[in-house]
């Protein structure tokens, strides 16, 4: 969906060419990146692999038209402790503006217990107790120009929101509400992937920086709040093994170069571009290099795809009918695709834990 907002500048105003270095209408942009969700920092690490653009391209001003970008990410920060936490307090006071708030990791449910914390960063000055990640999101999201959830934990809950989890973990949009809008009327931007494909994320950030600088229209997102140009196609549609599928020629053991659908690959119903783009520099990926697609970009991940190594239901049906019944298959897949684009029902805010875990040491 294209949202109302800034429109592209008209042709006469294009800033490139001989006047490329004229100042951006916004001088500086701050990216505050919270890694203190229930995550593994794998998205931060993944993004250091990006080259289109790389972090240093963006920070050192190697892309034309961009404002000066300040990145505050704990994995890379020069500052430590309070000097680092100062950025959080400055952001809260509106001193970092415009602010792109990036959230990494699932959002735990802190309301299901009477004390303690599942995830926290920094300390409360009065109590000496840690400040929860949820509290920081509450304080900072209203100050942001854009809010980005990076990786499948932050977007939809992911692994830590699996059935039976003790923390009641959920995605950022579950926590803030799917209708959340920033002060500039942008929805949350979700860039899923476990971890996020490096260039998918940096490209999205670059887009948002152009948006902040008034050089791009509002970011196009689908219903799951994913950038449409990155997640509009399925793994299968981009897979270089799809030719084997078409010929009904399937791998029956791992290590075969043929189509992996019968070995557990969910590619036909999963929204992801990794088979087109590779993992980095065009190298690696999933089914294209022998790894079954476990659907790690999807709202239904992981529960709706486990056990991962079993053939997906309907996989053999549609693979038998391959070719001749194209339209029927597309319709069947649309139904499955719709189902796996929904999160399991236990990922929600509120005081009740409904994941299936029954705690004895806290309220639950």
């Amino acid at each position: 969906m294209f949202l109302k907002g800034r429109q592209p500048m008209d042709a006469l105003d294009v800033p490139f060419g001989r006047k490329t270095q004229r100042p951006s209408p916004v001088k500086e942009v701050h990216i505050l990146w919270i890694t203190a969700g229930l995550g593994c920092d794998g998205d931060s690490v993944s993004v250091t692999a990006a080259s289109q653009p790389s972090i240093e391209d963006v920070l050192l001003g190697a892309i034309p038209g961009l404002p000066k970008v300040h990145l505050h990410n704990p994995v890379l920060a020069y500052e430590v402790g309070d000097e680092f936490m100062k950025f959080y307090y400055d952001a809260e006071q509106g001193k970092l503006d415009p602010l792109v708030l990036v959230v990494e990791g699932s959002i735990p449910n802190e309301t299901i217990k009477s004390e303690g914390y599942w995830a926290a960063v920094g300390n409360d000055q009065n109590t000496g107790q840690p400040i929860t990640t949820c509290e920081w999101i509450d304080r900072l999201a209203p100050k942001a120009f854009a809010v980005v959830a990076v990786g499948t934990c932050a977007t939809y809950g992911g692994i830590h929101a699996m059935q039976g989890n003790p923390t009641g973990a959920m995605g950022l949009a579950d926590y803030l509400g799917w209708n959340f809008r920033t002060k500039t009327n942008l929805p949350i931007v979700n860039v899923p992937g476990c971890p996020v494909q490096p260039d998918n994320f940096m490209e999205t950030v670059l887009y948002l920086l152009y948006l902040a600088a008034g050089l791009a229209p509002v970011i196009p997102l689908d219903e799951q709040l994913r950038p449409t140009w990155l997640f509009g196609k399925t793994v299968h549609e981009g897979c270089d093994r799809a030719g084997y599928y078409e010929q009904g020629d399937f791998a029956h053991e791992y290590g075969s170069p043929k189509c992996l659908v019968k070995l557990g690959c969910w590619g036909p119903v999963v929204n992801c571009n990794v088979t087109k783009r590779g993992w980095m520099a065009g190298i690696g990926g999933c089914p294209n290099v022998g790894g079954i697609c476990i659907a790690c970009t999807m709202p239904g991940f992981p529960d709706k795809f486990m056990p991962f190594m079993d053939e997906p239901p309907g996989g053999s049906l549609s693979s038998l009918m391959s070719g001749a019944y194209g339209r029927v298959i597309r319709n069947l897949r649309r139904i499955t695709n719709h189902s796996v684009n929904q999160e399991p029902k236990w990922r929600h805010p509120g005081g009740r834990l409904t994941t299936g875990y029954h705690p004895t040491t806290y309220r639950g």
Partner: protein, 611 residues
């Protein structure tokens, strides 16, 4: 909380022994904490009391502020999913978890992958070490030694660095030590950017073998999905040789930098020093020796290309993985969990060899979280306290991994078992031989057992282990090409999930020991406990009062920083903690207090109110 902090972090800590007064009859303890510690992976806080007059750290507590509950939500899941799930424990060494989980699955399922599959995993894991040590050393730790940092913390050291010529200038191209430091400045430094770029090349190598970084797509119990082709190994080898060339610059560069700190700051060997208590669980299976059977584990463990071992006070206590396994104990004491030992059922009474298994062994652990307020006098972290029982003394040793490389090289050197052409373990050292590259001739590096287990030597070992991993990769690449030429391209062994089984995997995550223990009942996971390196390093005081390795290494660390309490950055403490390569998704977070003096009195007590 900068400059406005009130309320002591140590409230409730009334039982602490008073610090002895120093020679002036007075002792000043200043509460200093760093939370979060940045330039690590995950959430770690370090809380200290510093005696600025005696210039040393008096007390240290390490805390982690994240709990996720893997051992809970894995219960009842399909055992084949274990490696996909546990990879997500860690965002920088997830593949180490996936690999270790596959090792445990192979044992539980009773299968042995074809040799070329083990070689492909070894090549992937070698690329992971090359990548991860590189980015951590030169983009995260390196910043603690960069010109900007040294200027802010020790201007006199920077002045000395400007005048100190590099002994190995011809090998790495930097004339003075200060030139190296400038090159390490974040983003603007030339070597910083070169290292970052190199970390991408090595990740490409990784993706060739394991599909994706950091959560691999092509690993399975029974083998790999990677298709072995001439192109696959050529693409890997050509990138590897660029890294080999890079190593010929990086090893002498770090030797010069680290030697300079000993020279510029006499006594720097005390920073981060602790008793030599090192654990290494071994890495790189020998594809022709390892059958993944528990009853053969002692033998195939000793064939690994990084030798497993426990080193206590410089002596090699064991290289036997069965011995290592049976003596792991998970203790509580300061962690937010309910004790299980007398309540929960025992899952495993005996190992497959008939040896008894303790109730505090990971096979028998039950994880029950009890979230609560943080109290440095009681419970203060989500990390548990793994220990290794030394049967000779009955001590529960707080082994550390030293960030991985120092323990790996130390155990491998003493064992003297590895001899693969590119590498030879001599009994006192490890020799690494690297072939000719584009612009540099062949070289021999020798890592010699150091005098201390301290911050500088942990960091130095990391650089040498990068070269070690590259040398191993050359060997594995040759092995894999030979298999390919013979036509042995099958990469997978079929299996059925048994109804009842147990398994364990031992591996080296990048930053140290990694074990996975699984119990299968009714074809599902009944119990699963991974023990990554950071719980070993970042843990709190255990039930016996023994502090964890970070706490122990930071306590009594001398302070060389020239700033007083008001502008204190804690650089010597940072170097200590980062030398362990903290990675707290598996286990901690540092916080710098406002530098206010908490109390000035003859017998300082914790918990006093301050302004």
């Amino acid at each position: 909380m900068t400059a406005t902090m009130t309320g002591s972090q140590f409230e409730g800590k009334a039982e602490v022994q008073p610090t002895p007064p120093n020679e002036t009859g007075k002792s000043k303890l200043v509460e200093m904490s760093w939370d979060p510690i940045t330039r690590i992976v995950g959430s770690l806080g370090i809380y200290t009391k510093i005696d600025f007059e005696a210039k040393k750290v008096a007390e240290c507590y390490s805390t982690s502020s994240i709990f996720r509950g893997y051992s809970i939500f894995m219960k009842g899941k399909d055992p084949r999913d274990a490696h996909f799930i546990t990879s997500r424990i860690c965002g920088i060494c997830g593949d180490n978890h996936a690999t270790c989980a596959c090792y445990a699955q192979n044992m539980a399922f009773g299968i042995k992958p074809p040799p070329i599959a083990d070689m492909i995993v070894n090549l992937g894991e070698a690329a992971e070490y090359m990548f991860d040590h590189n980015i951590f050393q030169d983009n995260l730790v390196g910043v603690d030694f960069c010109e900007q940092m040294v200027r802010e913390t020790n201007p006199s050291v920077l002045a000395k660095a400007e005048k100190t010529e590099c002994p190995h200038a011809k090998d790495h191209g930097f004339k003075t030590i200060a030139d190296i430091m400038r090159s390490l400045n974040p983003f603007t430094g030339e070597f910083y950017r070169e290292a970052l770029q190199m970390s991408r090349l090595t990740r490409e190598m990784f993706c060739l073998m394991e599909g994706r970084h950091v959560h691999p797509s092509t690993l399975y119990p029974g083998g790999v999905g990677t298709v072995p082709t001439i192109q696959l190994f050529t693409d890997y080898l050509t990138r590897l040789m660029k890294y080999v060339e890079f190593m010929k610059k990086v090893v002498p560069l770090h030797d010069d930098l680290f030697d300079f700190f000993y020279q510029a700051l006499p006594g720097y060997e005390k920073v981060g020093q602790r008793r030599i208590l090192l654990g290494c669980w071994g890495a790189f299976q020998d594809p022709f020796e390892c059958d993944y059977r528990y009853d053969h584990m002692t033998d195939w463990g000793r064939k690994m290309f990084v030798t497993p071992g426990v080193v206590v006070d410089g002596k090699l206590v064991t290289t036997d993985l069965v011995d290592i396994n049976l003596n792991i104990r998970i203790l509580l004491g300061s962690s937010y969990y309910e004790d299980w030992a007398d309540k929960a059922p025992m899952f495993v009474h005996q190992d497959p060899l008939g040896n008894p298994v303790d109730k505090r062994h990971p096979w028998n652990q039950t994880t029950t979280p009890r979230p609560q307020k943080r109290d440095f006098g009681g419970k203060y972290t989500w990390v548990m306290s793994p220990r290794w029982l030394d049967k000779r003394t009955g001590d529960h040793l707080a082994l550390d991994t030293g960030g991985g490389p120092i323990a790996r090289l130390w155990a491998t050197a003493l064992a003297g078992l590895v001899d693969i052409g590119y590498i030879k373990a001599t009994g006192q050292s490890v020799k690494i031989y690297l072939p000719k590259t584009v612009s540099k001739p062949e070289v021999e590096f020798e890592w010699k057992i150091p005098k201390w287990s301290n911050a500088i030597e942990r960091d130095r070992a990391r650089t040498y282990f990068q070269a070690y991993a590259a040398a191993c990769a050359l060997h594995f690449c040759e092995q894999a090409m030979q298999e390919l030429y013979k036509g042995n391209t099958k990469t997978f062994t079929e299996f059925k999930v048994p109804n009842e089984a147990i398994g364990c995997g031992f591996h080296e995550a990048v930053r140290g020991v990694l074990s996975h223990h699984v119990v299968i009942r009714g074809g599902k996971i009944a119990n699963y406990h991974p023990y990554p390196p950071t719980p070993w390093n970042a843990n709190p005081r255990d039930v016996y009062g023994t502090p964890g390795p970070y706490e122990d290494a930071v306590q009594n660390t001398p302070i060389f920083e020239e700033n007083g309490p008001a502008k204190f950055k804690g650089i010597d403490i940072m170097r200590t903690v980062r030398s362990f390569d903290p990675c707290l998704p598996c286990g901690v977070h540092m916080y710098t207090g406002n530098g206010k003096t908490l109390e000035v009195r003859h017998v300082p007590m914790f918990g006093a109110q301050h302004g």
